[in-house]
């Protein structure tokens, strides 16, 4: 059984370049989250996709960050003109409905470690 997968696992880029991070959620999971975690820190919420509803983008730190989810499945997080402070582990998680108004546990991918030189 496939879990949540993310690619690449590691990405080293130069300041100013654009990067794309990919997340493949578990099939059938309608909710998909992106988080960022700096070394030794907690999870920073970035963006949340829930079914056909408009995504909650309230956590995106700047307009250099964007994300899309095509066909309700695969998601791509794009960071334009990367800065050194963007260096972190980017985690993706998906979950399914528990009831009509609540969600079950989140399943996390292994993360993408982004290093901006």
């Amino acid at each position: 059984g496939a879990g949540v997968s993310q690619s690449p696992s590691n990405k080293v880029t130069e300041k100013g370049k654009d990067v794309e991070l990919r997340c493949d959620p578990i099939s059938g999971h309608t909710a998909l989250y992106w988080y960022r975690q700096s070394l030794g820190q907690g999870l920073e919420f970035l963006i949340y996709f829930q079914g056909n509803s408009a995504p909650d983008k309230s956590g995106l730190p700047s307009d250099r960050f964007s994300a899309e989810r095509t066909g309700g499945s695969v998601s791509t997080l794009t960071i334009q003109r990367t800065q050194q402070e963007d260096s972190a582990v980017y985690l993706c998680a998906s979950s399914r409905k528990l009831t009509s108004a609540s969600y079950n546990e989140q399943f996390f991918g292994p993360g993408t470690r982004l290093t901006v030189l």
Binding site: L43, Y103, E105, Q106
Partner: protein
């Protein structure tokens, strides 16, 4: 402000002792979940407790929920060195229409000394 806040931020105990970690939150919840993260890895779900439940057990884990105090505790009994990790509480909250959203706290670092 944080919806879920864990306490303490760090905990160091001897192997065999019990570890108690607390989480407080601000708004009504659908459920509360605890997760564990080993260094450098993704989070793993430990246990979920619904808003109408008061206590739940899973192996050496015991979770309580007090909705009147808006708090939860995670107890790990007979701790082992392998329990060393970061522990996060997360609250599932109804926030728009029929949608809910899971929000994580900042985490507790547990160190279990052999």
């Amino acid at each position: 402000s944080q919806q879920g806040e864990e306490d303490p931020q760090a905990l160091s105990i001897q192997e065999g002792e019990n570890a108690t970690m607390n989480c407080s939150y601000k708004t009504s919840i659908n459920n509360l979940q605890w997760y564990r993260q080993n260094s450098g890895r993704g989070l793993v779900h430990l246990i979920l407790i619904r808003s109408n439940e008061r206590e739940k057990h899973s192996g050496r884990l015991r979770v309580t929920l007090d909705t009147s105090k808006k708090s939860s505790s995670l107890l790990i009994t007979a701790s082992r060195a392998a329990d060393t990790a970061s522990y996060f509480c997360a609250t599932d909250v109804l926030y728009t229409g029929a949608n809910s959203k899971l929000t994580f706290g900042k985490g507790i670092t547990l160190s279990v000394r052999p």
